[in-house]
């Protein structure tokens, strides 16, 4: 599993690092922007999918009870993720998996 600085996690930085690792940082900026967007979406899917699958029911019970009147789903999600070790771990793993997948694809697809 790749080491990820999860304390100050920033998806964009993570992706930038990945792109650097693939040595693509000097490509055409427009192309790169599109690539990054696609990557960000894939990353988001994988990470949240993992979190969703791993979040503990106990955590959901507790958090939702506390935030019963909360309107902003973003707050709810953040609260859920923060409270759930299982989800966080799953996300950390998903980050690693994403990185592995990306590099695998890159190695097969590069010119």
């Amino acid at each position: 599993m790749a080491e990820t600085n999860t304390e100050q996690f920033n998806g964009k930085v993570f992706i930038d690092e990945l792109i650097e690792e693939m040595d693509m940082q000097n490509e055409d900026p427009d192309e790169l922007a599109r690539l990054k967007e696609a990557m960000l979406e894939a990353l988001t899917r994988m990470v949240f999918q993992a979190a969703e699958e791993a979040i503990e029911p106990e955590v959901v019970d507790a958090v939702i009870e506390k935030l019963a009147d909360e309107e902003d789903p973003g707050t709810i999600v953040r609260a859920l993720l923060r409270a759930s070790p299982g989800a966080q771990l799953a996300m950390v793993q998903a980050l690693g998996e994403f990185r592995d997948n990306t590099l695998e694809a890159f190695n097969q697809l590069k010119e």
Binding site: E7, F9, M22, E31, P73, I76, A87, E111
Partner: protein, 1202 residues
């Protein structure tokens, strides 16, 4: 020895940390005195200065309380303020003075000076004067002996003759327990004295045993009371030699207590032997013969008793007197001896030598005494064999014998006699085995004569080794080696100038007697001689170890090397000095070099290893001089161990094991590795003994763990992991001994580390800066004084005072700097420890596991290329091992729990789940039950998933884009932590595997898809890959929604029908496969639907009021499934306006979680995810009470999964 012990009497020591309490106290006192009141605290700087001055004075004063004399290569102190201590030191010194090897300087100047100083310091002490006189006498004797030796060396033939005499006298089986010094005068004197003394005269008369016994009786000895006899003999010896035999009281006591505590294991036996060996060889030379005499006397008694028995009872079979008794129990077992019965009784004589004479011969008249004796004997043998597993059987038999004996001693039939003989044989063989192992021998002796010889050799070797080590430690370097090299050089010079008649430097000649070399180095003389028929120096075959030494001495000088090789030839008798008269010195030197090059010995007993491993930093690894014997090289140096009877054993087996003491010198890289001692190098495989069978191996590991404090019942994961790791690396029992020694040594921490661990970080820092401040202060003072100097240059009186002050300050400063260095190191270590915080272990087994790993890693790496393992790597490994052990443990219970809960069986399996999913989801309609069954088999590649996908009807593209993601989405719902109840737990992991496979297939398909595309540029291709992947994932989400649409009614209908509670409960045990498999998906999506409006029914797009109510009353738990992903995907979610995306993650990871993620994973594995949590714990508790042995489950598991 004596020098080391003295350090504890010193409170202030340059090498040690200064005791601040004492200094501080003294300083304050001085201040008080000076000012006549409490120190003025208003001016802290001044106060501090005063305190420092006072402290320095105090320190100087304290230092004045000792006198330092160079002795044993270091400064030995005589405490001036404690007479008792000084007396004690001198007494100790007096005890060893007669046996210790002193250097020339010590002998001639240092010791006399030491004694002088001591007497000067305590002129009134009679005791000290007495001890001093004693020591002087010992020294005088030593000098005399040395002179005698010089004379002896001048005439080797005569010396040998003398030795021969000694051997005659000592009887064939009794070589002296210590490397005997052929000191003629004293031996002669003693002999003369013996002749004069009545008791000794009898003992050494050489008559038959019975005659001796008779004479002893006539002299008033009651031979059944051996201790008494011994004390009398001792007294006699004292009378003769006018010195105390140094069977030290405490040693005797220790031995006695060891025996009376019962020998329970071979380790204890070994310990006992060691103790005895320590006690024995320290006998002053003069009393050596007497010691043998004592032993012999006892043997003779035993034999004579047996003979008397035989004679009296006219037994048909004479007792096998050829076999002398085992040395251990007999000479030093004072505890059992009182129990030894009168000579008339049969067995007691047999205890030591295990000759159980014919019991039929016992005389009934001595019944009461005999009974008592029997009781004692029984007790003793029981104690001896208690707890020793190998002897357990024997013990039972013995007890049976005693039963027979106690009933009727006179009427033993033929059967009983045979039985007794059998037992005797068995016991003999077992004890031979045990004892030889205890003696550190690899080859088992076949009888007691050999055993005794081997034991004596072992003792001697240990003694030698200890002496070597002691001297090494004392000189703080490989002085021994230097000495040899020096000797070589001197001899080389002699070869050069061909003046051999000058005797070799005797004072350094190792005291190797002929007995010593006979078994060991005698052979190298012959063995290597054969291969080198040619006389050219280049082709001379040398033992490798010696070759290294020679190389080192020659230091690249070829001529020199040639000459050294000449020496080797001389040693072998292939060359001669011109004069040809005295080659003894060369031989001695070479022998010694050989001895040295082979030591320390591989088979050293455990304690020796322990000692060796507790190394001081300054010891240079002498193991480094030991090269690895190339595999092809014929064994040039026969085993030093395979002496006498054991000569048949493979000679290189023992010798080629390079037991290298820990190499402290190469500790540089990692601070942590510095702290841990080095393990001994791995012995080459070829020379190892493997365990006879798996059980022996397991039991030895178990015994090892037991010794380390982890009994078999300890099933903590770390302990189990330790067992596994040790088992993985273990090849023979010496491994365990070395490992144990290593672990023991690991407990010894350096001062800095102790400080780092024991003291608070801030305190350390504070102290450090405090010291820095003090140093700066002193610097200032020095500068100030120097200014004064300049000003008052002419005033000599003042200048002197100032100079003294500066010197004082400088001294103070250097002390502070030293302290600061220690503190700095401590801080560095602490920092390191803090860095490794997440890897540090609080509990013992974890630490042990880490050490064990470190040990084996180091050993393996050292063999490879001298690398060092990384601390963090080791810790990672440890963590993994613990996890493995833990999950194995948890898995076991989990497995059981799942099989015990009936509801589990009611839940659908993977196949039924898949079938139900496909039946309910219109997009998956084309997958029939059979196909779903096939899919279920894909989880472990029984069926190929790729093949299955290709076998589906419809286009591959559609299948990959719709069917597979959809299946993945459903499976994800089924396996979700919160939805554990929805699938049979046996199938849970299979479902997870299948899910992973489906997802991987999606990823691979995306790659393949892009590969086929006409795109050429990498970024474009990558973008296409991600887009494709996203599309597929999006389909999965969208299809989930479809599933909701199709099943919402179904859900609602069921809810009404079955009742909410049942439904929310997951339908445990009630629901059908179809409901269960879909409930996760449906409920999840329902919740997702509501998620946008955050549980507010009003915001839901649900028209039916009943449904609304239902949704709002859903437990929060039900919300879990499916919601988060949908919530987060701002782009794809039709319900969520707020853009969340990955940004939502920022700040979500708590540092603790990142740091402890492994631990958390482990816990989640251990307790099972989600709903299984309670099940697992409760079940474990319930089952633990009454269930069957775990082996059954292990078997089941193996059966189930293989």
């Amino acid at each position: 020895m004596a020098g080391n012990k003295k350090s504890k009497t010193i409170t202030v020591d340059d090498d040690l940390q200064i005791d601040p309490a004492e200094i501080g106290e003294a300083a304050e006192e001085a201040l008080k005195k000076k000012r006549g009141k409490e120190p003025d605290l208003t001016d802290p700087a001044e106060y501090q200065r005063e305190q420092e001055t006072a402290a320095t004075e105090t320190r100087t004063k304290i230092r004045k309380r000792v006198i330092e004399v160079p002795l044993f290569g270091e400064k030995t102190r005589i405490p001036l303020d404690d007479e008792a201590e000084a007396t004690d030191d001198l007494a100790r010194f007096a005890q060893i003075a007669s046996v210790f090897q002193f250097s020339e300087a010590d002998l001639e100047t240092n010791i006399p000076r030491y004694l002088e100083e001591a007497e000067k310091a305590y002129p009134d002490s009679a005791k000290i004067a007495g001890y001093a006189a004693e020591i002087r006498k010992a020294l005088e004797e030593k000098r005399a002996r040395k002179r005698a030796k010089e004379a002896a060396q001048a005439e080797p033939a005569r010396a040998e003759e003398d030795k021969g005499k000694g051997e005659d006298k000592g009887k064939k089986e009794a070589p002296p327990a210590e490397p005997a010094k052929p000191e003629e005068p004293s031996t002669e004197k003693i002999r003369a004295d013996i002749a004069r003394h009545p008791v000794l005269k009898v003992l050494f008369s050489g008559e038959s045993q019975s005659a001796i016994i008779k004479q002893l009786r006539a002299l008033g000895f009651d031979v059944k009371k051996l201790p008494e006899l011994r004390s009398k003999v001792r007294k006699a010896v004292e009378e003769v030699t006018e010195t105390k035999p140094s069977f030290k009281t405490n040693q005797t006591l220790e031995i006695t207590s060891l025996i009376s505590a019962g020998v329970r294991s071979s380790e204890q036996l070994e310990k006992l032997v060691r103790k005895i060996s320590e006690a024995l060889p320290r006998l002053p030379e003069g009393t050596e013969d007497e010691a043998i005499a004592q032993e012999e006397a006892r043997e003779k008694e035993a034999e004579s008793r047996a003979r008397q028995e035989a004679a009296k009872a006219a037994a048909k079979e004479p007792p096998p007197a050829a076999e002398p008794p085992a040395p251990e129990p007999a000479p030093v077992a004072p505890a059992p001896e009182p129990a030894a019965p009168a000579p008339e009784s049969a067995k007691p004589a047999a205890i030591p030598d295990l000759e159980l004479p014919e019991t039929s011969t016992t005389k009934p008249e001595a019944a009461p005494a005999e009974k008592e004796a029997l009781k004692g004997l029984r007790e003793y043998l029981n104690r001896l064999t208690e707890g020793v597993k190998d002897l357990e059987d024997l013990r039972k038999k013995l007890n049976a014998i005693f039963d027979i004996l106690e009933k009727d001693l006179s009427k033993l039939d033929e059967y009983d006699r045979e039985y007794l003989e059998d037992i005797q044989e068995a016991m003999k063989s077992i004890l031979l085995d045990e004892l030889s192992r205890a003696a550190g021998e690899r080859t088992a002796p076949t009888n007691f004569t050999q055993l005794r010889q081997l034991l004596r050799q072992a003792l001697r070797r240990r003694e030698e080794k200890r002496a070597t080590e002691t001297s090494l430690r004392k000189f703080g370097s490989s002085e021994e080696l230097t000495e040899i090299i020096g000797q070589f050089n001197r001899l080389y010079d002699k070869v050069g100038v061909k003046t051999p008649e000058e005797a070799a430097p005797e004072e350094t000649v190792y005291e190797v007697t002929d007995e010593d070399i006979k078994p060991g180095p005698a052979e190298p003389e012959a063995a290597p001689a054969e291969p080198e028929a040619e006389e050219t120096a280049e082709t001379v075959r040398l033992p490798d170890s010696l070759a290294v030494i020679i190389d080192e001495v020659a230091a690249g000088d070829e001529v020199k090397k040639k000459r050294l090789l000449e020496l080797w030839k001389i040693y072998q008798g292939k060359a001669r000095f011109e004069n040809a008269e005295n080659t003894q010195a060369v031989k001695d030197c070479m022998r010694r070099a050989l001895e040295f090059s082979r030591s320390p010995r591989p088979s050293a007993a455990k304690t020796d290893l322990l000692e060796a491993l507790k190394f001081d930093d300054e010891i240079i690894p002498i193991g480094k001089t030991e090269p690895e014997t190339p595999p092809g090289t014929p064994p040039v140096t026969p085993s030093p161990l395979s002496g006498g009877a054991a000569a048949s054993a493979t000679p290189e087996a023992a010798d080629s094991i390079p037991f290298a003491p820990p190499a402290g010198a190469e500790a540089t890289a990692e601070p942590m590795s510095d702290i841990l001692p080095e393990p001994p190098e791995a012995p080459p495989r070829a020379s190892r003994e493997s365990f006879p069978n798996v059980e022996a191996r397991a039991s030895s590991i178990q015994a090892f763990m037991g010794r380390m404090g982890f009994p078999a019942s300890d099933n903590r994961p770390a302990v189990m992991a330790v067992r596994t790791v040790v088992g993985d690396h273990l090849t023979d029992s010496t491994d365990l001994q070395q490992l144990e020694a290593y672990l023991e040594a690991g407990k010894v921490l350096k001062e800095a580390e102790r400080m780092a661990r024991g003291t608070d970080k801030t305190k350390l820092r504070k102290k450090y800066y405090e010291l820095a401040g003090q140093i700066a202060n002193i610097n200032q003072q020095i500068t100030g004084i120097q200014y004064q100097f300049r000003r008052l240059g002419r005033n000599i009186e003042n200048a002197e005072a100032l100079g003294a002050r500066i010197a004082q300050l400088e001294e103070q400063k250097s002390e502070l700097i030293d302290q600061q260095a220690v503190l700095k190191e401590a801080l560095a270590i602490q920092q390191h420890l803090a860095d490794e915080e997440s890897y540090s272990y609080k509990e013992e087994p974890e630490r042990m596991l880490a050490l064990v790993n470190m040990y084996f890693a180091k050993r393996i790496l050292k063999l490879k290329n001298g690398e060092k393992p990384k601390f963090a790597q080791i810790m990672e490994k440890v963590q993994e091992q613990i996890e493995t052990a833990q999950s194995a443990d948890a898995g076991k219970w989990y497995w059981i729990a799942n099989r015990l809960f009936l509801h589990n069986y009611l839940k659908p399996t993977l196949t039924t789940t898949l079938t139900a999913i496909c039946a309910k989801d219109p997009a998956l309609k084309k997958i029939d039950a059979e196909s779903a069954g096939k899919l279920a088999k894909c989880w472990d590649n029984q069926e190929s998933l790729e093949g299955w996908i290709q076998g589906l009807e419809g286009s591959l593209d559609h299948n990959m884009k719709v069917v597979v993601p959809k299946l993945a989405a459903h499976l994800a719902n089924v396996t979700k932590v919160g939805k554990m109840a929805n699938i049979n737990s046996f199938s849970l992991n299979r479902a997870r595997w299948l899910l992973n496979k489906l997802r991987r297939e999606m990823h691979l398909y995306s790659i393949r898809k892009v590969e086929k595309s006409p795109l050429t540029k990498t970024p474009e291709k990558m973008e296409a890959y991600f887009k494709h992947f996203n599309e597929m994932s999006e389909n999965a989400v969208a299809q989930e929604r479809i599933a909701v649409e199709t099943s919402r009614e179904y859900l609602w209908r069921n809810a009404k029908k079955l009742g909410l509670a049942t439904f929310i409960g997951g339908g445990i045990g009630l629901g059908t496969a179809s409901i269960l498999s879909l409930s996760g998906a449906t409920l999840g999506i329902v919740a997702a639907t509501g998620g946008a409006g955050a549980l507010k029914a009003s915001s839901m797009r649900i028209k039916s009021p009943g449904m609304k109510k239902f949704i709002s009353r859903l437990s929060a738990r039900t919300l879990v499934g499916g919601s988060l992903g949908s919530l987060a995907l701002a782009a794809s979610s039709p319900w969520i306006a707020a853009p969340l995306g990955i940004a939502a993650l920022t700040g979500c990871f708590t540092p603790e979680i990142a740091r402890h993620r492994k631990e958390l994973w482990r816990n989640s594995k251990k307790y099972g995810p989600g709903a299984a949590y309670v099940t697992y714990r409760g079940t474990k508790a319930a089952i633990g009470l009454f269930f069957l042995p775990l082996n059954v489950f292990k078997f089941w598991r193996r059966w189930m999964y293989t």
